[in-house]
């Protein structure tokens, strides 16, 4: 019993905790096909990639290769499924992340492995066989079979209740020499000033086009310069530029496009419950987007720290993998360099660095006329034959390189045999592989055993981005929210929203509570925020006929008066949902749809639009845009006819203001 008591006390003493993710969920360094294999049930990249399977494989003997790719799916090499165990500078990727954490004084590391027990075992074995098990750091490996996103992983961790403190969240493939403890302390300072601060994202300044910057990394960020608070965060540069609502303009702001996400985030302890409460947070991007969008309501904020010194980068695709491996070999990431003895087995020989970044162990047998370097690592007991060239590469332990082979830009694991006359460029060769005589490997290949796979780059964000706010309103009835299996859910959800609004109106419930209630049923029904917007608008409009049994028989004036009372009451609630142009378009579309379905409402459309315009919920431009666009509804022309006066009034008003 004694150790348990000890642990409890330690927790009170504020243990420095960190979560290290073992893989990148949706993304694989070696291209989308690997990520797909990892999560066969989830189509991560949309339909476009389905037919790419044919060329996802590459090899000299094509026939054999093609068979491989189809048959191979159920059994993936555990080393491969765990990308954190691929070699880089004769170490495993995981070692670099662990070193960064342990050097910073993290006492409790949770490695979250989503590829099941098999992958978890591989990681556990690696840790047991290296110095990590000897350090005074608690490293726990958590394996999960059915987790296919970062959100799932964090929800799982929350359920397990092992993380109690503010913690460091580190994505897979992070290399950094930045001390993490000060970052945590800074975050705590921020939390003292801003109780809602939930996360500090760590970014590193790196210009676009840098060799170790992934082309996928295209964040555009707006910060409050004085506090570092994130005001806007987008994963790509929008075609129409960055839009900042005037009311969000702060005294001093900073626009940042030249940083990369280092994959390190300092999280408050409230982050895990937030993920649990919001089932629809899948990625960290979802988290950021939702926190920013609901800042006024939930009061949570995100901060960003821009590192201008120190090394911090994250491997997300093959390009950044190649870039980072050169960074390590060329010592930009010092002390994370091959000749530092971190993560190695206690008895391992130490690398010595020679001129031109050549790292060798004493017992390497290299032919005199082999050209090793510049920039090369050669592991112990490796034999390098005559006239071999090795550049920008690392070769593992107990390897054999035959005569006249040329190896450039390659990361090669342990026990690999490369026969005479091979040509290898931009390849990753895993442990124990064998390259036969005179092979000319195509660049960007991954070699596992005797199989070769072509490495594809991950598709860019454009294909899957849901940021583009115009898409939503433009698609009309075909929009996803009305189609498919969700229709029934949406009807049920709408009914619940209507109930809430009904009760809220009759019992005069505070709007804040009502908002929370609607958020709750949204979560319970697996609805997106946009769904809630539509449901709330329809609820507000449809409440009057529901409240008054003689509503439809009464005169137009009475109908409008009754409707208006409800509309006015829920103005502030609606403002929580209609915040941007997309929201406005959605509002107009929903009003039009309602008017289309309920003829009684059509004469009131103009008054309603006018009211929302006066309340600054609808802007003039959006109204014009909607008015000019061809209607998708039968009664569209009639509705536009009904509001014509208002449009004319708006036009003259705008002309007048221009005249001034």
């Amino acid at each position: 019993m004694a150790p348990k008591v000890h642990i409890l006390r330690e927790e009170k003493e504020d243990i420095f905790q960190a979560v290290l993710l073992a893989d990148n969920f949706g993304y694989s360094i070696f291209g989308p096909q690997w990520a797909e294999k990892r999560y066969p049930n989830r189509n991560i990249f949309g339909d476009d990639d389905d037919d790419d399977d044919d060329d996802s494989e590459y090899g000299d003997d094509k026939q054999k290769g093609e068979k491989d790719i189809t048959q191979e799916e159920p059994e993936i090499d555990p080393n491969l499924s765990q990308e954190c165990l691929i070699p880089l500078g004769n170490r495993k990727l995981l070692d670099y992340s662990l070193e960064a954490l342990t050097v910073s004084g993290v006492q409790d590391i949770f490695i979250y492995c989503s590829s099941g027990v098999k992958g978890g075992t591989a990681i556990k074995d690696h840790i047991r066989n290296s110095k990590w098990s000897d350090l005074n750091v608690k490293i726990s490996v958590i394996s999960s079979e059915d987790c296919d996103s970062l959100g799932d992983a964090l929800r799982d961790l929350d359920a397990k209740g092992m993380i109690r403190n503010d913690f460091i969240l580190m994505a897979a493939g992070v290399l950094t020499n930045i001390a993490l403890k000060p970052l945590l302390e800074d975050h705590r300072k921020i939390m003292k000033l801003d109780k809602g601060a939930v996360m500090t994202l760590i970014h590193r300044k790196m210009p676009v086009g840098h060799r170790s910057r992934s082309v996928r990394d295209n964040q555009s960020i707006l910060l409050d310069h004085n506090t570092g608070k994130v005001l806007a965060y987008s994963n790509k540069i929008q075609d129409k530029g960055m839009k900042i609502p005037t009311e969000n303009l702060k005294r001093e702001m900073e626009v940042i496009l030249n940083t990369v996400d280092t994959g390190i985030a300092v999280c408050s302890s409230s982050v895990l419950p937030l993920f649990t409460d919001n089932f629809d947070f899948v990625s960290i991007q979802d988290f950021i987007k939702n926190i920013l969008m609901n800042e006024e309501v939930m009061g949570n904020t995100i901060y960003l720290r821009q590192m201008k010194t120190g090394y911090a980068n994250r491997i997300v695709d093959f390009d950044s993998f190649m870039g980072v491996s050169l960074d390590v070999l060329e010592r930009w990431s010092y002390p994370l360099v091959p000749d530092m003895p971190f993560g190695s087995n206690p008895g391992d020989p130490v690398y010595h660095m020679g001129a031109n970044f050549v790292y060798k162990v004493a017992n390497v047998i290299a032919s005199r006329d082999a050209i090793i370097g510049p920039v090369a690592v050669v592991g112990c007991e490796t034999t390098v034959g005559k006239c071999v060239t090795i550049q920008n590469s690392s070769i593992g332990r107990r390897c054999f390189v035959g005569q006249n082979s040329v190896i450039t830009n390659a990361q090669i694991g342990d026990g690999v045999t490369i026969e005479d006359g091979c040509k290898i460029d931009r390849c990753v060769i895993l442990d124990g592989a064998c390259i036969t005589l005179d092979r000319n490997m195509p660049p960007n290949s991954l070699i596992v055993g005797d199989r070769t796979f072509q490495i594809q780059n991950n598709p860019t964000e454009d294909d899957e981005s849901d940021e583009d706010d115009d898409d939503y309103a433009a698609n009309g009835k075909d929009n996803m929210m009305y189609g498919g299996h969700q229709e029934a859910d949406f009807t049920r959800f709408s009914e619940e929203v209507m109930e809430s609004l009904h009760r809220g109106f009759t019992d005069n419930v505070a709007l804040d509570n009502l908002f929370v209630e609607i958020q709750g049923s949204r979560t319970a029904n697996f609805m997106y925020f946009d769904h809630a917007t539509v449901a709330v608008i329809k609820g507000i409009l449809g409440l009057a006929p529901r409240l008054y049994s003689d509503f439809l028989e009464s005169s137009l004036v009475i109908q409008w008066n009754k409707t208006k009372v409800i509309v006015v009451k829920y103005t502030e609630l609606l403002k929580l949902y209609v915040k941007n142009l997309a929201g406005q378009e959605s509002l107009l579309k929903t009003i039009e749809e309602y008017a289309n379905d309920c003829p009684y409402f059509r004469p009131m459309t103009m008054q309603l639009l006018h009211y929302y315009y006066d309340e600054d919920i609808l802007s003039q431009d959006v109204i014009f845009k909607w008015y000019k666009k061809e209607s998708l509804y039968e009664a569209g022309a009639e509705i536009r006819n009904k509001v014509q006066k208002f449009i004319e009034w708006l036009e003259t008003a705008s002309e007048e203001s221009e005249d001034e």
């Binding site: 300044k205 210009p207 676009v208 555009s220 707006l222 310069h225 540069i237 929008q238 075609d239 129409k240 530029g241 960055m242 839009k243 900042i244 609502p245 005037t246 303009l249 702060k250 005294r251 001093e252 702001m253 900073e254 626009v255 940042i256 496009l257 030249n258 940083t259 802007s619 003039q620 431009d621 001034e660």
Partner: protein, 425 residues
């Protein structure tokens, strides 16, 4: 040594003060509203004179009116500047700044790179520094930002309204002074849009909203030419210099780069097909536009473009004296009878105050007559106005030539003679 080579000075003074008509009416042009013993135009001209432009030629764009021309010429004489005027016909509509400048250019009044000042800026302008930066960076367009003096604590007279500070927005790279973006909150509808080209060209910059654009610009002639070119290319004419033309110029920095690189190279010795012809015509690469800005956080200024700011500058006499030593004057020929109680009162020239008046926070322009037993709290009285015996006014603005009747009581009102203003009150 001041870098003035081939530089021409242009002062924009044709504005009619459309945002302060209640105060000045139509008889006094904006550039000649008096305070602290001088008309508004005096202050920027004084800055020019003290910054090494004395004895140099200055072009002032004014409304076409004899009295204005005379006053302006006299001012120039006093300050040792050679004044030339370009006059905008009075009956024409209120031109935008860009439009007046365009007219002056078409009349061949502006022929070189120009230092352009607005007449409504009051402050100690570091013109020398600005010109140094412009010359050093070989900038196409350089602007000046300073800190505005803090807003007035007293409430604005007239109908109750919240004073909305219209912020200038400037995007800048502080290390180099490169100007990335300029906008003004008043010109935006609901959101500021930073174009993609700008983001790509400048991936990291600061966006500041607390500085005041001084309306002091140094612009190359080549850039000014675009003001006239724009007439021909079918796009909208730019009416305002600050609101439209210059922001457009600043945006061209990103666009010019994108345009030149996307243009396919033209092969030599091929017979020009019709599709190639257009490309071949573009032989010389246009000089890229580069914009810079000088930010002087520690220096303060104020732009007299609203009643609030006029009030502010009148109340900040000490600050004004600091900026313009030996230039301010006490009110001349103003008589105040005995028995009154006056606190926070600033009067113009040729004013009279009757007996037993109780005045608190009162600002008056020239030739104001306040009769006996008048009680005023937080009131601005415009020129030639008259306040009858025993009138009680609080939170009011009395317009030019307005006569408050004896014993009248007014609160939170604009008291103006309708004909004196352009717009309905």
């Amino acid at each position: 040594m001041l870098w003035t080579n081939g530089l021409q000075v242009v002062v924009l003074a044709a504005g009619r003060g459309s945002r302060m008509t209640e105060l000045i009416g139509s008889s006094v042009p904006k550039c000649l509203i008096p305070f602290a013993g001088n008309p508004l135009l005096f202050y920027p001209l004084k800055c020019l004179a003290t910054n090494g432009f004395s004895g140099k030629e200055v072009l002032i764009i004014i409304q076409e009116r004899d009295d204005i021309r005379r006053t302006v010429l006299k001012l120039g004489e006093k300050l040792g500047l050679l004044i030339d005027t370009f006059e905008i016909p009075e009956e024409s509509e209120d031109f935008g700044t860009a439009e007046s400048l365009r007219l002056a250019m078409m009349a061949k009044k502006i022929t070189r790179d120009a230092l352009i000042l607005s007449c409504d800026i009051v402050g100690d302008l570091p013109i020398q520094k600005l010109l140094d930066l412009h010359g050093l960076r070989d900038s196409s367009f350089t602007s000046l930002y300073m800190t505005s003096i803090p807003p007035s604590p007293t409430q604005l007279p007239g109908p109750k309204s919240k004073h909305v500070v219209e912020r200038d927005i400037v995007g800048v790279i502080e290390e180099t002074g490169e100007l990335v973006l300029m906008a003004s909150e008043a010109d935006l509808d609901e959101e500021l849009i930073i174009p993609t080209n700008t983001l790509k060209k400048f991936p990291n910059f600061k966006l500041l909203t607390w500085l005041t654009d001084c309306h002091v610009y140094v612009v190359k002639k080549k850039v000014l030419d675009k003001l006239c070119d724009k007439l021909h290319d079918g796009s909208d004419k730019h009416l305002s210099l600050k609101g439209e033309f210059l922001p457009w110029v600043v945006q061209q920095q990103g666009a010019a780069d994108g345009g030149s690189t996307s243009q396919p190279p033209v092969e030599k010795f091929t017979y020009p097909s019709s599709s190639h012809y257009h490309n071949q015509k573009v032989v010389e690469k246009p000089e890229p536009i580069t914009c810079y800005t000088l930010i002087q956080e520690e220096k303060t200024c104020v732009r007299i473009n609203s009643i609030h700011n006029y009030m502010l500058v009148v109340q900040s006499l000490d600050w004004l004296k600091g900026c313009f030593p030996n230039s301010t004057a006490r009110a001349k020929e103003t008589k105040i009878a005995r028995g009154g109680k006056l606190t926070g009162v600033i009067l113009g020239d040729h004013c009279t105050v009757g007996e037993k008046c109780k005045l608190t926070n009162v600002i008056s322009l020239d030739h104001v007559k306040i009769e006996d037993n008048v009680e005023l709290v937080n009131v601005i009285v415009s020129s030639n106005a008259q306040i009858g015996k025993g009138a009680v006014l609080s939170q009011c603005l009395v317009g030019p030539k307005y006569q408050v009747q004896a014993g009248g009581k007014h609160t939170n009102e604009h008291l103006t003679v309708i004909e004196e203003t352009f717009f309905e009150p």
